[in-house]
């Protein structure tokens, strides 16, 4: 465009600083990579491709710690999503992605397009999405703005997923002040495929066509990736144009067309990739880079929904519901015919070329001519400084807070009404959790469970993130995040297979934030190695700050497990009167970062006790074995609110109650020692169950016909009607959402 700055003007006026490129990076590109000044379009391409969102330049040193292979992994990180073998020549495909910044600015569309983006990642691998999950973290429900964010984010997730016909089956929602201006909206999608249908995002074979399919390109979302890689100031209202708008109907058509292509006509297809962050540029240059190919695109052929779009705008647009295909030469018309059947456009916009050039033409001119690898592989990795935050040093040098509880019944009633613990049904009920009629366990349990049609198998899935623990000790908190996800999978009778993540942190240029990132990845890695759950995909979201204050470091773990026989899917609530209740795992004085501490002191503080990963893993393996032999009637893992909340939850929505007697005191009842479970076992399975568990258990009571919760503690007693507690737990969030502030 005639109004664009010349290379010389770019050098002088430095617009790239606003687009996220540093001076050092710009000079490196000009002097070392190109040997000339980049033009306007090229500068734009570098600024998005070198953003953290696309390049992981900051987080790479940490990400390298993660294990990403084991005997089951078919595809690790680097593609649209990771793939794991589940037997019978089938595979499960999954990934999580954050849409934090868009959701802070325009919560409905931000959340909706987050779901849309992650679904495209799944079907770009040749898999049909079978379930969605989410992990949401908001500020306290005491401000109108927060209520608005919650309502809109929840509506956006439902609006997109419901229309697509993908059930939303599990997730988590927590509340802490640190997320007030910067909510975390992480979406995960799980897909199922025959291994023969596996696709990759690569563009290989000189002369093969690069085809654009799906929605037209508009000016929406330009610089979305860069936007995700910068922190918020209060001018976020002015950043609205960077948020994309979703069209789930278009995506439903696109999904069906792509799946028809990948399952029935794979021989026409060389590669396929979602156009996500950084739109055409990232998908095309990544596809070329992975195959070590060159690529030439003519941007005039890109279907456009607005007039007079510049090359810069076409390349950087993040319009939704678009995919890029590499199609074998000669099959262009065949592919067009498939998409035509769904009333979708499929257009050849370029070809794979010899060599390694990335050549873009627009209106008869060459607008970009650079090596492919300069965008994808040559990113300057900068070592980041690390520093232990002062609050952690201080905590290690002082004693931890210890609760004093005189009235455990009152504390239990109150803790059940804390937003993080209370029932999320008012949100999850707005998601279609049953469409595709394979949902064995829906929202509100430890994990969602989806059966695999035509087999005895089922898949258990969960998302977990607890920023409080990671804030107090990133390494131990990282371990706990993985333990919690494994515990949720185990509770439903599944063997944890692998995990995905969203790493949500503050500004990595802050040495304390970077230290948190590195240490928590170290902790997660240690746990992944013990549990044999490699990290097969994931996403990094940095710069989660509001006016200079970072969020709690919040790595979200998304995990999928395999249930060998769906008949042994374990419910999380009690099943029959007379069943024996066991507690698995030691209870220690773990109050730092607990819900109890937050409720009673208004804050979290202190240091964390380390966890024994081996012992927890051993317990989990034995428990799973007992489940697979049919000895376990129900199982619920202990998390926020500890044993007290877990026991209460196992009775909700049943007609039953329970009576337990323990050597624990009132405070210990609320301790949050990780890796513990409450299990119920039918009396006739008692002996077999105890034999499998080898004494690593404590019998604490039994399920009663009377719907009452009776607990005899070492220092007190609780006796309360299940109905009364359930009502408090159910009504807390609707009540908070309605209250005027």
């Amino acid at each position: 465009m005639s109004t664009e700055m010349t290379p010389q003007e770019i050098k002088e006026q430095k617009p790239y600083l606003d687009w996220g490129l540093t001076q050092k990076e710009y000079e490196y590109i000009s002097e070392k990579l190109l040997g000339r000044l980049p033009n306007y379009t090229e500068t734009g391409l570098f600024s998005v491709m070198w953003s953290e969102h696309c390049s992981y330049k900051k987080s790479k040193p940490a990400l390298r710690l993660f294990p990403n292979k084991n005997e089951r992994v078919l595809q690790g990180p680097g593609e649209g999503a990771g793939i794991v073998d589940i037997g019978d020549n089938q595979a499960v495909v999954f990934k999580a992605e954050s849409h934090n910044h868009p959701s802070a600015v325009e919560p409905y569309e931000g959340a909706a397009t987050g779901v849309g983006g992650i679904l495209r990642d799944i079907f770009s691998m040749g898999a049909r999405p079978i379930a969605s999950l989410d992990s949401l973290h908001f500020g306290e429900i005491n401000q109108a703005r927060t209520k608005y964010l919650i309502n809109e984010v929840v509506a956006g997730i439902g609006g997109y997923g419901n229309c697509m016909g993908i059930p939303t089956v599990a997730g988590e929602t927590t509340f802490d002040e640190c997320y007030t201006g910067n909510p975390l909206v992480n979406a995960m999608s799980v897909g199922l495929m025959d291994q023969k249908d596996m696709q990759k995002g690569r563009a290989v074979g000189v002369g093969n066509a690069v085809m654009y399919v799906g929605a037209k390109t508009g000016r929406d979302g330009i610089h979305g990736a860069t936007f995700a890689s910068a922190d918020f100031a209060d001018d976020r209202e002015t950043q609205r144009s960077a948020v994309q708008v979703g069209d789930p109907f278009m995506e439903k058509l696109l999904m069906e067309a792509c799946l028809e292509l990948t399952s029935a006509h794979a021989e026409w297809l060389v590669g396929i990739q979602d156009m996500g962050a950084a739109g055409i540029v990232s998908s095309s240059c990544e596809m070329a880079s992975k195959a070590k190919s060159g690529m030439e695109l003519t941007l005039d052929y890109v279907p456009q929904r607005e007039s007079n779009m510049s090359a810069y705008e076409i390349m950087l647009s993040e319009s939704q519901e678009r995919m890029l295909l590499c199609v074998r030469k000669g099959h262009e018309e065949d592919v067009k015919a498939i998409f035509k059947d769904y009333d979708l456009e499929a257009v050849v916009i370029g070809r794979v070329t010899e060599g390694h050039r990335y050549l873009l033409k627009h209106q008869g001119k060459i607008v970009t001519d650079i090596p492919v690898s300069s965008l994808t592989d040559d990113v300057l990795e900068e070592p980041s400084e690390q520093k232990i935050p002062q609050h952690i040093i201080d905590a290690e040098n002082s004693s931890n807070w210890k609760p004093q509880i005189d009235n455990p019944t009152e504390v239990l009633n109150r803790i059940l009404q804390q937003a993080t613990i209370a029932s999320k049904e008012s949100f999850t009920q707005t998601y279609d959790s049953q469409v595709r009629t394979s949902t064995v366990v829906g929202p509100g349990s430890d994990a969602g469970v989806i059966r695999v049609r035509g087999t005895k198998k089922a898949l258990a899935m969960t998302t977990d993130g607890n920023g409080r623990f990671v804030y107090l000790n990133p390494e131990i908190g990282g371990k706990i995040a993985v333990i919690e996800a494994c515990a949720n999978i185990i509770s439903s009778g599944g063997l944890p297979l692998a995990m995905t993540d969203c790493l949500n942190y503050g500004d990595p240029n802050d040495p304390e934030v970077y230290w948190e990132l590195y240490q928590s990845v170290k902790g997660m890695t240690a746990a992944c190695n013990v549990f044999n759950t490699p990290v097969i995909s994931g996403n990094v979201s940095l710069y989660n700050e509001n006016n200079g204050k970072a969020i709690f470091p919040t790595p979200m773990v998304g995990m999928v497990g395999l249930i060998k026989n769906v008949a042994y899917t374990i419910p999380s609530f009690v099943q029959a009167e007379g069943d024996i209740i066991y507690l698995i795992g030691e209870t220690k004085a773990d109050y730092s970062g607990s819900e109890l501490q937050k409720m009673l002191t208004g804050n979290i503080s202190g240091s964390l006790n380390d966890v024994d990963l081996i012992e927890i893993s051993n317990n989990m393996q034995k428990l799973l074995s007992a489940m697979q032999q049919g000895y376990v009637a129900s199982c619920h893992d202990l998390s926020e609110g500890g044993l007290a909340v877990a026991l209460a939850e196992t009775t909700f929505k049943t007609d039953l109650g329970l009576s337990v007697k323990m050597a624990l005191n009132s405070a210990e009842l609320f301790s949050e020692t990780p890796g513990r479970f409450v299990v119920t076992v039918s009396p006739d399975k008692k002996e077999s169950f105890e034999k499998v568990m080898e004494g690593n258990i404590k019998e604490i009571g039994q399920v009663t016909k009377t719907p009452q919760l009776k607990m005899k503690l070492s220092d007190n007693e609780i006796e309360v009607a299940v109905e009364e507690m359930q009502q408090l737990w159910e009504e807390a969030i609707p009540c908070l959402m309605k209250s005027k502030d």
Binding site: C163, F249, M250, Q429, T430, S433, Q434, V435, T437
Partner: protein, 226 residues
């Protein structure tokens, strides 16, 4: 008996209907694209839930102009069974095969949960239920509030056309607690709940199974079903 499951762009419960009939009921069933113009060879038409054409306009308002619709109307007018659930119900009202309309839920929100329904067993779709039996079926919709004017409502009551009523709570504001109705002749049923989601013990509910069994039974008996 051969079933057609109609697939509109944006239908997403088509697979659920198909599997309920094929895998659970072992019935002969085939998907039929919205682009087709004939239903020759079929004995029953099943219109699935979902978001036809995105439901960006009024739900079902565009689907009624699809190529297949004249064939469906002809099929219904010939007295053959036509069933629509959720978006299918909305499409049937838009197409004029059923009276009334489905408005936005009075909560203004999508709602997915299991609700109690009272069954009227004097229709060809519900013959296998007890009369006034209370069953539980899932709902999953944002626009399920049944509305019709007083005259139509009276006709529905008098002609015994109300096949299902919400029994305990009314989840969407439907008049007369209506969850599902037939046409006057009794061969077209539209309902917001999803019987196809409740046909297997594994998924926790089999209360919808008898609806499909009733349709299958209908093909075996002769004479007026209603």
């Amino acid at each position: 008996m051969k079933f057609a499951v109609i697939v509109f762009p944006g239908s997403n419960c088509d697979i659920d209907l198909y599997e309920a009939l094929h895998t659970v009921c072992h019935a002969d069933v085939q998907y039929v694209s919205h682009k087709e113009k004939t239903l020759a060879g079929f004995d029953a038409v099943m219109i699935p839930g979902g978001f036809s054409y995105g439901d960006y306009l009024r739900c079902g308002a565009i689907a009624r102009f699809a190529n297949i619709m004249p064939a469906i109307i002809e099929f219904a007018n010939a007295g053959k069974p036509v069933f629509g659930t959720c978006n299918g119900f909305q499409i049937l009202t838009e197409a004029g095969l059923l009276p009334g309309a489905l408005k936005q839920n009075n909560s203004l929100k999508f709602v997915c949960k299991t609700v109690a329904l009272e069954v009227n067993n004097k229709t060809m779709f519900t013959a296998k239920y007890q009369d006034h039996e209370i069953i539980n079926l899932p709902i999953a919709h944002a626009d399920g509030s049944y509305y019709a004017d007083e005259e139509v409502l009276n006709e529905l009551e008098e002609n015994n056309q109300i096949a299902f009523r919400y029994a305990k709570e009314n989840p969407n504001g439907s008049l007369h607690n209506i969850a599902g109705i037939t046409n006057e002749r009794g061969n077209v049923l539209g309902m917001m709940p999803h019987p196809e989601r409740a046909v297997e013990a594994l998924l926790g509910n089999e209360d919808g199974l008898r609806l499909f069994k009733s349709i299958l039974l209908g093909s075996q008996v002769t004479g007026e079903m209603r």
